[in-house]
């Protein structure tokens, strides 16, 4: 695989857009301005960025409760996403969904999701629709290690295998389901090995190495588009923050473990590697970073300026409109 400076900068931009978006969101949330609760993706950006780099707006993604990064990487507008999480009517879903219910048909984003594992069979369904349409679209399902012991994982992936659907299943294994260590709840912590159970390829990848994810996801997506069926990719990664904003994330994880994973920060690793090899100059990264800072600030301002919801709209959209 050829790694061009443009590719490096593009993956860097994608990761920084997520990182800076999440950190800005965290500030606003901590100020008390934002209702509900949020699960931040900081530390895991390489997965969304590396996979979504291969997807067009016609492809589909299902996501999770920790899904802001997937939404942004898939092309949901940053300002509209910020506003949605803030509960504003100018949000992508009018503020009716919030953090765990972000949907955008304009870019095939089939939703973040409050139910662990639920997006897995839904991605198989999007793959089924793609197969019927025959236009070469693929579906990607992101989920965590917490989803892989759920029947939705088993049933959704088995179905995709049986029907050779164009789907890529991407497990973000961050080692903890909320606070429960993965190795306490399964005798098989090798998620990639579970592909064999469904007769599909299962690949383990360093989830903090965006170039490696980009390479592996590219092959899997190509297989899916080519009618060769689904792939399961396990990305070993880690969330720098707590399970939700407000959870310090330290009661069940040692300081050493957290520090060790921060050493492997996906953004810093990409930058260091590219500068050391001479592929990209530091000033180029800084240029992108400034642009992203401006974009995030604009998204924040857009969301902040939004009006509050009109209670008169509460009963809208329960049922699809009647056809004429």
């Amino acid at each position: 695989m050829e790694i061009s400076p443009d590719l490096v900068l593009s993956l860097y931009r994608s990761m920084q857009r997520i990182r800076k978006f999440e950190l800005r969101l965290q500030e606003v949330y901590r100020s008390g301005a934002m209702p509900g609760f949020i699960h931040l993706y900081v530390g895991e950006e390489a997965v969304a960025a590396g996979v979504c780099a291969h997807l067009s707006r016609e492809d589909y993604v299902t996501s999770t409760h920790r899904g802001h990064g997937h939404a942004i990487a898939k092309g949901v507008g940053m300002g509209e996403t910020f506003a949605e999480i803030w509960g504003k009517p100018i949000g992508v879903n009018g503020g009716r969904g919030g953090s765990m219910h972000i949907y955008d048909p304009s870019c095939g984003f089939l939703g973040t999701n409050g139910i662990v594992g639920a997006g897995i069979p839904m991605a198989s369904g999007a793959g089924m629709a793609a197969l019927l349409r025959g236009a070469g679209q693929v579906a990607v399902s992101f989920f965590g290690d917490g989803a892989v012991n759920n029947c939705a994982f088993h049933e959704g992936i088995n179905l995709a295998g049986a029907l050779a659907l164009p789907v890529v299943f991407v497990c973000e294994n961050n080692l903890y389901a909320t606070e429960t260590p993965f190795n306490r709840v399964t005798a098989n912590t090798n998620v990639a090995s579970r592909g064999a159970a469904y007769g599909i390829p299962g690949i383990h990848v360093d989830g903090n190495d965006v170039l490696e994810i980009y390479r592996v996801a590219g092959e899997a997506i190509e297989r899916a588009r080519g009618g060769e069926g689904p792939t399961l990719i396990e990305c070993a990664t880690y969330r720098h923050l707590g399970h939700f904003e407000g959870d310090p994330g330290t009661g069940y994880r040692s300081k050493e473990e957290i520090a060790e994973w921060k050493q492997r920060d996906p953004i810093e690793r990409l930058v260091q590697g590219a500068i050391e090899s001479g592929a990209v100059r530091e000033s180029d990264f800084l240029g992108v970073e400034r642009e992203v800072d401006a974009e995030v600030e604009q998204a924040y301002e857009f969301a902040k300026a939004g009006d509050e919801a009109d209670p008169g709209t509460v009963a809208q959209f329960v049922y699809a409109p009647e056809r004429p």
Binding site: G94, H101, P121, M122, A126, C151, A152, E155, F317
Partner: protein, 328 residues
């Protein structure tokens, strides 16, 4: 009047599927044993031969997976019909139905539609015990976003299935196993039956019976017997409980002043209670007697035929309940 022929309930359903699938290539049909086998009840007979393996596909026994697949496919522009065969097994898929299918149009601010039909058969037929008999339809009616259909005749199953497939939201389509081989007049030409329009199966002036699914048949038979005793019974089949045609029921009760609700599901927290609440809040002054309910007893379904008969409403118990209601 449109010309009709006598065909079975199950064949009428198949006709609806054939006609719709010919009309719209985005419709596909999945379920366990619905392919070459044609369905446990022959409810998908001949579809696989006509539409092929891509559009009519046998599924593993993965109820949640199938419905989840239906939700995703519907969001991605297809029109899936997921046949779970037995309503009891739909319980395995409840998360996808309630949390995803029913909710996504609302939470997406109307941006995504989920045109999904979940099809299943309910009811006790020939002592099938607690895992193949239940009538869980009230559960779905409780969830905003779902439409709930209970066809009680061959004509209705075809006309309502067409409307279900054309609806742009999720529809829970619940047939009754008792009906599948029962024949009835079905129009020869194209027709669809809109949701939310009750069927007044029999006109009467002394008592109104509101009944769903198989209980409609029992109520009509009970009404014929009661007529010989000089009691005139009006039987109303709502056909869909979401949306529910309140007006037809209220109009009838305003005329008769007496209401019996017959339900094959349990009484406690069931749809019968909802219907009673609607009538008592909107037509209280027209009632000449308290609303009565005749429902399944609050027990699981026993296998033993004597116990099962003791648990479910029957023509005899409906006749008896009407007599008591008229005397009160």
């Amino acid at each position: 009047m449109m010309e009709t022929r006598e065909i079975s309930y199950v064949d009428a359903g198949v006709e609806a599927l054939q006609e719709e699938m010919r009309r719209d290539a985005s419709i596909f049909y999945v379920g366990q044993g619905i392919g070459k086998r044609g369905g446990n009840f022959k409810q998908s007979r001949s579809l696989w031969e006509e539409f092929g393996d891509l559009r009519v596909r046998d599924m593993p026994i993965s109820e949640l997976g199938q419905v989840g697949m239906g939700v995703g496919a519907a969001m991605a522009g297809a029109r899936p019909i997921v046949d779970i065969v037995f309503l009891d097994m739909v319980m395995e898929a409840m998360g996808q139905i309630v949390e995803q299918a029913a909710t996504i149009h609302y939470t997406s601010n109307g941006k995504f539609q989920v045109p999904l039909v979940v099809r299943a058969a309910m009811g006790s037929v020939r002592c099938t015990g607690p895992h193949h008999s239940r009538c869980f339809y009230s559960w779905f009616a409780h969830i905003p976003g779902l439409k709930v259909v209970l066809p009680a005749s061959a004509k209705d199953v075809k006309g309502l299935m067409k409307t279900a497939i054309r609806d742009d939201g999720p529809v829970i389509f619940i047939e009754h196993k008792f009906f599948y081989n029962k024949k009835g007049p079905v129009p020869s030409g194209e027709y669809a039956i809109p949701f939310g329009q009750a069927n007044v199966c029999r006109k009467g002036k002394d008592v109104t019976i509101l009944a769903m699914s198989l209980m409609v048949w029992h109520a009509v038979e009970a009404a014929a017997r009661l007529e010989q005793e000089g009691i005139s019974v009006e039987v109303i089949d709502p056909r869909t409980i979401v949306p529910f045609d309140e007006e037809t029921l209220l109009e009838s009760v305003r005329k008769t002043g007496r209401l019996l609700i017959v339900d094959e599901a349990q009484e406690f927290c069931g749809f019968s209670g909802e219907a009673a609440a609607i009538v008592s809040s909107k037509a209280f002054d027209d009632l000449d007697a308290p609303i009565r309910r005749l429902c399944a007893l609050n027990t699981p379904h026993p296998f033993n035929p004597i116990l099962e008969a003791a648990m479910l409403p029957s023509v005899d118990s409906i006749v008896d309940a009407v007599r008591r209601l008229v005397a009160s």
